[in-house]
């Protein structure tokens, strides 16, 4: 028990309290049984997402879990210190060159080679938290998955792929906002998936995405009465070309 582990535990408690995060399984159990090693993937609507999953994990699993985070946001200054020292994040370069800081970009493009790096994390025995949508969404719809999840499952078929549904976090800190507003959120750990031997890429990604879609529909808070947002939901804006790497 050293200072940083106490600090980590304190921070995890703080994050969970602020996000009002209730941890549950899809069946409604409040204490999920999680595998020793896993690829956690979740829907993405807020910068708080990986913090909240990280905080929701039991201490012994948290130590060996590396959130995958964007280098353009977490790669410099104070955030870098947090990402490295506290969360042990695995930083990926979404935009090709590390110098660009395009925080408002809608695309989650990434250069080739990132997945191999993540696979090495798994080889070393650690778990990963990834967001296969590649970028933050509006909190109500889940965008198409990028291919990285499939490749990781292919490279490490023995590691369970655990779907994590995050409800209401997008309302705490929506895209484009700076100050988080407390809401009660829910972190739901669903049943692990495994890649079937002959499963196609698109089939696996669609299956993985559908777990989150169904679970979110069940646990989502009230839908906004806002008609314009409802319109956006039908055709999510995806302006730039993307590679199916991350």
């Amino acid at each position: 028990m050293n200072v940083s582990s106490v600090l980590r535990r304190g921070l995890a408690t703080l994050i969970s309290a602020f996000a009002g995060a209730r941890v549950a399984t899809a069946a409604g159990d409040s204490e999920p049984e999680l595998p020793e090693q896993a690829i956690y993937y979740a829907n993405h609507s807020s910068h708080l997402d990986f913090l909240t999953i990280w905080a929701a994990l039991p201490g012994e699993l948290r130590r060996r879990t590396r959130p995958v985070a964007a280098k353009d946001y977490w790669g410099s200054g104070v955030r870098r210190v947090f990402a490295d020292q506290i969360f042990n994040a695995y930083l990926v370069d979404r935009h090709g060159s590390s110098g660009t800081r395009q925080r408002t970009s809608d695309s989650g493009v990434s250069p080739k080679g990132q997945v191999e790096g993540m696979a090495e994390v798994l080889t070393a025995g650690d778990s990963l938290i990834i967001f296969p949508e590649g970028t933050r969404g509006d909190g109500e719809t889940i965008a198409r998955f990028h291919g990285g999840l499939y490749k990781l499952a292919q490279l490490h078929p023995e590691v369970p792929v655990v779907p994590v549904t995050l409800a209401n976090l997008g309302r705490i800190l929506p895209k484009g906002e700076v100050i988080p507003v407390p809401h009660l959120s829910t972190v739901i750990f669903c049943e692990p998936l495994y890649l079937a031997p002959d499963e196609e890429r698109q089939a696996f990604l669609a299956r993985a995405r559908q777990v989150l879609v169904d679970c979110l529909a069940e646990h989502q808070g009230p839908q906004p009465t806002d008609a314009s947002e409802a319109d956006e939901r039908v055709s999510p804006p995806r302006s730039q070309a993307r590679q199916d790497d991350l």
């Binding site: 009002g20 906002e177 507003v181 009660l184 906004p224 008609a227 947002e229």
Partner: protein, 330 residues
């Protein structure tokens, strides 16, 4: 009166708290007995959880009153914020409301409770119903989303009125004794804590009567309840529970007249009004929960649900109790 005092607590308040502790000891013993006889059924487990939570809540209340008015007001500010968080979680707000929600959560409650702490009645009684009421929709209109505007704005306003404005009248009772003794002008801007032990007695009287009424309505309803008052809102609220609970809690209030500045008759009348208002609060919150398709507002208090599930009756009773006392006694 003896000279013992600790913060806002004097010997009368201590007797009140002692009475509550006795009831809790009795309840704990009964729950243990039931547990031994019936085994760990879900009702018994829930009952034990509820009683344990009561122990904590009573200990917390005693501690903050002993620490003084400032700490008590900070506690109620925190309760307001927790209630607000539960309320906006179930409200149909959208992304366009975020800027208004920042004001709603981080600025307005703190300013409001600051006015309560300053004993500035003229300001804390109008700040939210006038200034915040007009400011929030304007801020929201600037954000530019018009769809569902009235509904979203009204929901935000309602959350603020119930969770912050209404609830803050409970700690505002602490300053009423100054107006009762020295007049309303002298009370305006008086020092925090100047209400002394009488303020704490008023607050304890209200809390014991309202929460006691909740418990008694539950007990009467469980034992004799047959005819639901509003079956589409809550099948658990029956005429038998309502009448039995309100009457017995009114009797409880009358029996506590000696700790208040009231006559036995006025204590009974004020208790009766508070219980009826408390019932109304529970009914309204049940209607909201039914509409949103949830059973509880949250899970912060084990056995009880969320903060709002415990404070719903107090939110409706506190402002009316405050103004009735202020009207008749100052």
């Amino acid at each position: 009166m003896s000279g013992w005092e600790l913060g806002l607590l004097d010997s009368s308040s201590l007797k009140l708290l002692g009475g509550v502790v006795l009831v809790l000891v009795l309840a704990t013993a009964i729950a243990r007995l039931l547990g031994r006889r019936l085994g760990a059924t879900s009702t018994v487990t829930n009952l034990k959880q509820r009683i344990n939570a009561w122990w904590l809540m009573v200990a917390l209340l005693g501690a903050v009153l002993a620490a003084g008015e400032t700490v008590t007001i900070v506690l109620f500010l925190l309760l307001s914020l927790l209630a607000l968080r539960e309320f906006i979680t179930i409200s149909p707000t959208g992304r366009g409301d975020h800027k208004a929600l920042v004001w709603l959560v981080f600025i307005i409650p703190a300013v409001h409770y600051w006015f309560v702490w300053e004993h500035w009645y003229g300001m804390f009684s109008v700040f939210i119903p006038v200034y915040a009421f007009l400011f929030l929709p304007a801020r929201n209109a600037l954000a530019g989303q018009t769809a569902g505007f009235l509904q979203r704005t009204a929901t935000i306003q309602w959350a603020l009125m119930v969770c912050v404005y209404a609830l803050s009248h409970a700690p505002a009772l602490l300053q009423l004794p100054i107006a009762m003794e020295l007049g309303r002008d002298a009370a305006e801007g008086s020092a925090p804590g100047a209400g002394g032990a009488t303020g704490a007695q008023l607050l304890l009287f209200l809390l014991i009567v309202v929460q006691g009424s909740d418990v008694l309505q539950y007990v009467w309803g469980k034992t004799l309840g047959k005819h639901p008052i509003a079956p589409s809102v809550s099948p658990n609220k029956t005429w038998e529970g309502f009448i039995g609970g309100v009457l017995s809690a009114t009797a409880l209030g009358a029996a506590l007249w000696w700790v208040t500045p009231f006559t036995p008759f006025m204590a009974a009348l004020l208790a009766f009004i508070s219980c009826v208002m408390g019932f109304a609060g529970g009914l309204v919150m049940s209607a909201i929960k039914r509409d949103r398709g949830i059973k509880d507002f949250g899970s912060l208090i084990p056995g009880h649900g969320g903060i709002m599930d415990r404070l719903d009756s107090l939110c409706f009773a506190a402002p009316v109790f405050f103004h009735t006392v202020r009207f008749f006694y100052t």
